[in-house]
Point group: D2
Chain length 471, copies 4
């Protein structure tokens, strides 16, 4: 359903807790604060030091984890890992909900993954040829089989050995009965932060999860780093010598929560700066600035502030649209029945409106919103996008459409403007974006991934399968 508003789907989120009697609950609150990263499913695995148990399901965190389920998990834990999963078109289903928990007579193995392994299919075919049976259609399971076949006496060694075979984007939280292992791929595409909560450790994809549970931020796990926590304490090593950061820029532009800090940069501030930068680049005459809720509000406020044009609430989001909302029939939509987003007539009527959005993927959503604003009486609608045109698909964990569906891949800005029916359309420049966020270009220290804008992929790209479940 989100696809109607957003063509750029959220990725996944992970949490890990070690050494707290309420580990399962802390994982629950952490996942809850990461819900924006995935609404399809969620799961928690806990260990009491001797045995792991799992609870997972499809839906939102609050739907899956009933009081009874949490009660059942709670008794058992001293550590827990958790995962939220985003909505995929095909694939999916209960079996693909993470964490995965694999039991054997020599002990269990639980995995939660954010990212996408680009050579998963190659590895899977090899493993199946050797008689392995896969339980899911997820790329994540490949790591479990690699670990099991590595056969080192210490799981840490098996993990290290297995990670060296993976290519792509990953932030892993792995757990056995008595240790927790975290790892980020050598490019560090996906964030993973570590905090402390008294004597306990708390790791999560975003710092907002740390804040929500009251954990103190220590540092981010680094690209190519492997961190192991167990009853002996915490230790770290690097499994890759050639780590070079390529943090996903879209984490700032769209995905992450505004209250998270990624690599020390606050997301709301980054977005407001993107808006301010836009005001410098665009210089449009207008009466009001409005943002497409929720993700573009910060940028719109930044734009308004820098341009000296009042920010107004020209679009409002219907808060209670969920899984069970009944879509209006085609006939009712034609009669004007709206769904998740409504224009505010009292604000836009007779006005020249600057509408700030974070990105354009296929263009259909922008066209719909521009149309809404015009129907509500806006005299002019100037669309301002706080990122450059997306011309290339992402292979690192974001469900962009296929290359041929990306409108900016084949159309010029003027063509897009015409399609979406705007009076003007301005994208942020790549340089302006890099400047506003404050992270260097790819290749430099603390560099960014700009592949979806520029086509320069930091890793080798294997055959890309649209059908595969990514996270």
């Amino acid at each position: 359903m989100l696809a109607e508003i957003r063509s750029l789907n959220e990725e996944c989120g992970v949490v890990g807790v070690w050494g707290h009697p309420d580990a399962a609950q802390l994982a629950y609150y952490g996942l809850h604060s990461l819900q924006h990263r995935g609404q399809e499913g969620a799961g928690i695995v806990v260990t009491d030091g001797e045995q792991m148990s799992i609870s997972k399901g499809e839906g939102l965190v609050t739907e899956i984890f009933t009081a009874e389920k949490m009660q059942a998990l709670s008794g058992t834990g001293k550590a827990a890992i958790g995962h939220v999963r985003y909505t995929t078109a095909g694939g999916g289903g209960y079996q693909n909900v993470q964490p995965f928990l694999f039991n054997s007579h020599t002990g269990g193995l639980a995995l939660a993954h954010n990212g996408n392994i680009v050579n998963a299919n190659q590895l899977k075919a090899q493993l199946e040829g050797q008689g392995s049976i896969f339980q899911t259609t997820s790329d994540t399971e490949v790591l479990a089989h690699l670990i099991k076949r590595s056969g080192y006496s210490d799981v840490r060694d098996s993990v290290k050995n297995s990670l060296s075979m993976l290519k792509g984007a990953y932030a892993f939280v792995i757990m056995t009965e008595n240790q927790m292992i975290m790892a980020r791929d050598p490019h560090g595409f996906r964030p993973l932060s570590l905090g402390k909560l008294g004597d306990a450790y708390f790791a999560a994809s975003e710092t907002c999860a740390l804040d929500i549970v009251g954990a103190e931020f220590i540092r981010d796990i680094e690209p190519g780093e492997l961190v192991v926590i167990n009853d002996e304490g915490i230790s770290s090593e690097y499994f890759s010598l050639s780590s070079q950061q390529a943090m996903c820029t879209m984490e700032y532009v769209y995905f992450s929560r505004p209250d998270s800090n990624i690599d020390g940069i606050n997301v709301h501030t980054a977005r407001k700066n993107l808006g301010k930068q836009m005001a410098l680049e665009a210089r449009i005459e207008a009466d009001v600035v409005t943002g497409v809720p929720d993700s573009s509000i910060s940028a719109a406020i930044g734009y308004a502030e820098a341009a000296g044009i009042p920010y107004e609430m020209g679009l409002i989001k219907n808060r209670y649209v969920g899984r069970t909302f009944i879509q209006p029939s085609q006939s009712l939509r034609e009669q004007g029945v709206k769904m998740k987003l409504s224009p505010v007539r009292g604000v836009v009527e007779g006005k020249r409106v600057i509408m700030v959005d974070d990105s354009i993927v296929r263009g259909t959503t922008s066209r719909r919103i521009v149309g809404m604003l015009k129907d509500a009486g806006a005299k002019e609608v100037h669309v301002v996008i706080s990122s450059p045109p997306i011309k290339n698909p992402c292979f690192y964990g974001i469900d962009t459409s296929k290359k041929e569906e990306l409108i900016a891949n084949s159309k010029s800005v003027e063509e897009i403007r015409e399609i979406i029916g705007a009076d003007s359309l301005t994208f942020l420049s790549v340089e302006g974006m890099v400047e506003a966020i404050g992270r260097p270009f790819p290749g430099e220290t603390r560099g960014s991934c700009l592949a979806c804008f520029t086509g320069n992929y930091p890793t080798e790209i294997f055959e890309y399968e649209r059908e595969k479940t990514k996270c």
Copy 2:
């Protein structure tokens, strides 16, 4: 659960549709857009001209009306009325969910009510003494019994006769098999707007519901007016000669959706003006302005704009907190686990923060939020309230706490400031509020109700029962 964040509970919302083949669906979308006015329960009654049928339940609109239920309702309709109900502490339950549908061998009667009848208990005792059996504990049912006992051959006359016995606040949408009747009390405490959708009529508590279904706004039902719609068309008459408007000011300050217009005044604009007025009255030196989401964002932006201080997102609301969210245990809360609202450390740390909120009822919420901001590193927190102190309970459909629980009833502003731990606390003046909203004082044409601030109640007040289910 909302009570933790808000001590001022939402009231109810009503819709009515006449003459549309998709009447039930339109009622559904209308109720959905009024969901902020009540989350406890919702219902829809449809008529096909010969028979009425009902579907209702506890929970959110999208939870209650499954595709199957809507399918079942849809076939039957050419007209429909609907209701959303707010959360009451006591009382409640399925039986009190509206609309009420009463069948008899001479025909049915359906009622949906927003407001509160202040002499309901007196009337109910009289009716029970005469052998009437009440099905609910709601004040609304009294009207049904009065109508049934009126015994006029035309329901319109029975309704008129019965309304003359009621005192208090009401916006009624009433339906029989073949007509729909709308009425507002002589003071017009609660809003009720009428629109057109092709040949069909669409009425709702707020204009946002008209917008969502694409209906064109015609006019508001007037205080003391009775509007009847049936297959012969629409007609209007006044059942009260002494109507004098006293529109609830809190509809602007807090209750209504920002995209609604009440009596031609846009709510977002009114709130922004309240914020601007505050900036004139407060004149505080600070680094950032932030609003308590969602209802205070507009006022905060107005404040920032007028004061020339940047608006920042210093507080963020957790979007997925619903009925099934598991509350953190006391121990976890003490360790810092948060729930619905989080401060954004990256924004407030080391800053002098102006925190704009719409009202203070018991003070506990404000104290919690101020504490959060300080814990997140705010150097100073200046609380600015975009309305005057609430010193008196409401008897007209708003679930304020009892008089003795209203902190401003017994404490001075300075005492409240100390209790909530703010560096300064400023309430808007009554005059400033009236000016900013742009509605005259009580007693004048298009006057306001300011009773909760001033204690001047527009009607006689009978014994007040805290236990009674109001709407």
Copy 3:
């Protein structure tokens, strides 16, 4: 679904418990044992002496009363009444599920009813004309309104006065906050037994409920008797001087559980005697006797024993068919997919089979079963019915079809035999039935109602409405 196997629907069942700390639970187990009397819905009302609370729902007792609901009810009680309701075609729904609980400012009133008031519509029209609003479409509610309008200071007097206006069949269990009242109509159509459980009283429609909770049988409530139990003890009086028993014969033939005793006659024994009597009257040469499960097994065993022909399990009932069973499509049924009842080929193949059933209503079920047995290879199928032909509808609480749908109303035995495809068809004689059960003819002391067989109705019959919800 039951309608496919049985055309004669079950009626309702009631229980009442007074003076036991586990009153709600005892009501639950009692209702559970009366489940055969109604599967549509069930409810329990408890009182703690000051307040009554209710829990009810649609479905089976075990579906409605979850552990949580029972927990909620349990704390409150010292007394409870309960009801199971049978499946009706039209009408029905949650609102008609009993007990009914009516609250007023002078106290509550709860009612549970088994039977049918034949002048309910007349009374209801009168009451509605006087302004009463009915909550249900049930005849039972009439009594509540009569009681409320009676206006005696003691509810017992109001009940007595109101019962005198009712005509028809009823076994009532009524409760207020501090007393329980039981009453049977002057003809005693429906059973109601009283037992003791330590110091507590336990009343139920059938003695099997007494057995299941370990209560000792005291006696049956008598026709025209009103029994009141409260903290002062138990008292009895007669509200009708002209009581003359007309116990429903079908309670023995079909409705009641085989382990119940009705007026001291065990139901299984009565059925076995009906079977023995049939063997005397029918004298058919055959290889095996089989019964249609479950209700005809006793009669079949009686037949087999008396006739000296082996009893075999020629038909088997599928135990797990419930509300959610998916009916085979027409095409699959034509290919032979069966549902609730299967013939046992190994038992009937090549045999002359006597198939004992308790009644024929529309004949469709009998035709289907005879067909099944023949398809499974039975050489001959002789249908033996352990009651006389049903030629007249029941107005006393049994949902027989309309007069014109009763096959025996217009067809001769030979015509019915041909329709159902049996090799012979024998009904029990009225005299044989009366003899076998051991209750006298109507009009005598402890007489029976034979109206459905003979057309002699013990009461005046008013306009009969098929649509009305009976119980």
Copy 4:
């Protein structure tokens, strides 16, 4: 819950359908008729020739397969396999519900199993040592891994090769996208019958499933036989040269449905013969014979017929006890609240009762039933068991208690009689049982397994793990 009445738990049941457009539905009705073989869970896998899809869940067939789920499955199929699973104490859960469906890039594999592999643990440890990851704790999964590692180009060869490594009891129904394979272990412990339905094939654990779907019985799959059905037709071969039948005797005595034929012997008839044989061996003077419902009714009728003592319904089973039934508290049970079984006082009071049951495992159930009958007034209770004492655990798919829990393992018949409080206790002799059923002793052609009575196990027995999930 069944454990209270029965200490001998049901095993599992399987079905397979090939070549019918309604394959999924036929599997549903077949599983439904096998519900007595397992109530814990059920599943169906369908293939449309190119892809397999699965639907499974915990609970009863009618609970798991909603109309929506069946709809979803239906479109896809031309073939289907299904499974019902019995309740295990430990283990269990969704993941262990069969059929199992394993997907790989070379195609899928679905398995349904009735029985128990006695060397599963040994094989599993070997496979895990080689890097295999198991998804379940079921012995059945071992076969999937063996097949996957066999690596023959034709699945039939991989299956044959893998079956040669298994020891124990099994009736397998295996499916790939384009063929269905059925196999029984060389001793044929568990039944598996094949039928035809027009051009389609229908296989099931019991013939009652064939009857319910209208399929014509062809023959039983033979011990050590492998039958393959695909679009080319049906073919058969033997994968074991040393097959020697050892059909489980308890299938006749207790497990199977009375309307099934096992190896041509009707189960109801076998039980009636067991009862007749008992009458010859026991020769007890009594007034009535009664059976413990449901499984002992046939034997009781046989006994009554042979002994010339009337059969009466002295015990009645409460039909509506399901998963959600609330167990009476200890205190209520002590006060006499009963659950699933009630004695019929009207039948047993003052009588000498012969109570026929099929087996005694731990003795607790028998003691409870004898107690009930005595409490209901039985003068004498003579317990007659239609099988010999069970002295040894079963390793072939029946969940008997551990050896030390089997009362007959350590107690004499007289000791057991005293424990259960009966006036006499008679077990059937092994010779009498073999004679009555009509199957030869073990070692002969069409021999039986009598291991639980005699301790002579037909196969080697490996370490026995109580915890393992068997089926």
